[in-house]
Amino acid sequence: MDNWRGWDKISYQSDLDPRFAEEIASIPGGDKLFACIQCGTCSGMCPLSSYMDVTPRQIIAMIRAGFKGDVLSSYTTWLCASCYTCSVECPKQIKITDIMYAAKRLAIREGVYPKKFPIPVLASEFFSAVEKNGRSSEGRLIMKFVMKTNPLNMFKQAGLGLKLFRTGRFSIKRESVERVGELNSMMKFLEMEHMIKKASDAVGVKEDHK
């Protein structure tokens, strides 16, 4: 009976986040999320759904119902490879890929993504490299990523690395744009905007949606 877990299957309304759906739906064109008829075309088309802990269709249902914790901690959003098949075939034209991105962003912001899962790690490494240099240096990115997730893999993947090196496809040179300053000003501007918005949200000033 040690594994008997049936008792916690019930969901209490107080545990759900009623604002979660609107949070996700606030992305451009995101309100179509509410039109979902749970037909499962997304899951059926998704080449990765068989590896997901919950199907894309269920993610939509969970978002709508406010299962924030379950959605943000699920592997499903991170397994999404952004192939956009679901978005193209959805009979309600829901931008499912964009919704997956929105969930990923929220998970990172709130620090609730599956911690040891390698995909968010790669995303973060990529992000910080580009933020700094304006370009990603694939060789460095891969090395950093392997170090952070599974250093033992370094040996396992040594063969591949060697081959890439031999064919001139692996370089540890740091790639960068020349005018880093331009990028810095752009990013600074967006961060300021973001802070202002957060501050105004906090004091209850709503942007005028016309």
């Binding site: 008829i37 749970q38 037909c39 499962g40 075309t41 997304c42 899951s43 059926g44 088309m45 998704c46 759904s49 068989s50 919950v54 199907t55 269709r57 269920q58 075939e89 959805c90 009979p91 309600k92 034209q93």
Partner: protein
Amino acid sequence: MSSLDNKHNGSARVGVYICHCGINIAGKVHIQDVVDIAKKLPGVTVAKEYKFMCSDPGQEIIQEDIKKGLIDRVVVASCSPLMHEPTFRGAMAKADGNPFMFQMANIREHVSWVTKDKGLATDKSKALVAAAVARVMFHQPLTKTQVPVNPNVLIVGGGIAGIHAALTMANAGKKVYLVEREPTIGGHMAKFDKTFPTLDCSACILTPKMSAVRAHPNITLWTYSDVVGVDGFVGNFKIKVKLRPRYVIEEECVGCLECIEACIFKHGKFKDEFNVGLAKRKPIYVPFPQATPLVAVIDPETCAYFRAKCKKPCADVCEKKAIDFNQKEEIVEVDVGSIILATGFKTFDASRVARYGYGKYPNVYTSLEVERLVNAAGPTGGEVVLANGKKPKSVAIIHCVGSRDANSNKYCSKVCCMYSLKLAHLVKERTEADVYNFYIDMRTPGKGYEEFYERLLLEGINFIRGRVAEVTDWAMTPDEEEKLVIRAEDTLVGKVRRIPVDMVVLAVGMEAQPDADDVRRMFNISCSHEGWFLERHPKLAPVSTLTDGVFLAGACQGPKDIPDSVAQAGAAAAEALALIDIGHVELEPNTAFVRDEFCSGCRTCMNICPFSAIAIDTEKDTAVVNGALCKGCGTCVAACPSGALQQNLFTDEQIFHEIEGVMNYV
């Protein structure tokens, strides 16, 4: 030239009545404020409010005020004039008021239902009331003209709806012209084997009605024909019908079909339209054995006589000498008083959903094709077989193909769930195959429909709730080799499944006819977004259109199954009969008229009138409007350079004052 000064009729006494429409208006408009404002408007002697002005007690309020002599004209602020203008005009007439001393302010559809803020809604209501009052001051008593109604009726389309409407009208003793563009009547229903949920034989219930049409003395049936011209108006339409040559004299042909036997093509070679391409026909053919009329037709596109030399064995073998290669297209003209459109639908083109492989994999069929396969009179004699002639061991039926999909049609086609159940039953019965129905939601509202669903559940049909993602031919496991593989999420289980099958049936939805837009233009009616003909009111006038005298029956108005189509056909016939029984129509007196003293005889109006309703009085050299021909558009009035032309109910004076009125209370 009209003056914009407030030089209204000094003796006018206007009664203003504001309707609450329950909470429909009162919930969004401060009624009392509007009443208070109305009381202050010049000319207003009475201003009142009531819960439902359209109700009998509401109408009585107006009638009493007229009888008491308090008012001689009326403004009702309530719903759209398209809804209740006739009601209130009628009420005034009953109280011996002139019904055209009336104006409606639309404060429901145009205000309370579309405005968020109560204050703004109230302001807008005040403005509309002020405008109506300002305008009604200039109304004149008018009378309606009566025009007799021609008792004949035109019915377009010979499917089950057209057939039923035709028989109803004909049995009531009216002359019916039934026009069908195919060589036979019968429509889609003639292609089906069984009908849901009773599983009674489609042909058995349809063909007697088809013969009855053919035999009925009151019905003139024109098949292989098209309506090419519609003129006139309610009660008095002039119709042009083009009879295409079928190269067989209809009156002579006895339907022995010897000619078909004799054709130089020994076997069918061309796409058989009736069998949706599953069989081949000859250039001379009848669509199916019970075709009505049972008269052969020659397709000039494929007949050898029209392309090269042919000794015409068909003509030689015909004892009645019915074959006539010199037949020419013919135009006939008829007068009718009413029109029933029963032009039906077309099925969705399944190749538009590329991922289901229709047109790519030979064993992917549409439901209409399978209807022919299960039909004992169909190309396989009722055997459900694959392209290679073998019976399928497993069959998938995919619902909602071309329905409920923003990438094709957003609406539900209403009939597919039920016919998919029917086909599942028939396929299982004929092949003992495993049948899988993939559905999004099972929709079975209707008498005996849910019971039919339960019967299938018990029969062992597999139901999987999930819209199929794709049909492919690549295998992941040995049992998938050489099969079509369905990939779908079983949403009730929450897992994606791959199911190998031999045959896939696509339950295609219903669409408006491809030429519905041309047809509706010809008959001067509207279409909804999806292309279906638009009814006058979705609930209360479902078979009428915005054009008087034109009625709708069957699926041309929206997806319908057979019982609904028949019911609607009956309703359309009843509407047409009611029109005929009254014997006349009253025309709205909103016609144009000329004020001779201003007319210079420039003939601008004459050239601009699309109905040739304006002539010139050569003695006075002024324009004259023929009230019977004028339809009241007012185009000539706007064009008249001297202001001599005016339109009853829409005079410059009335409109100018209405404009002035709406500018208030912003």
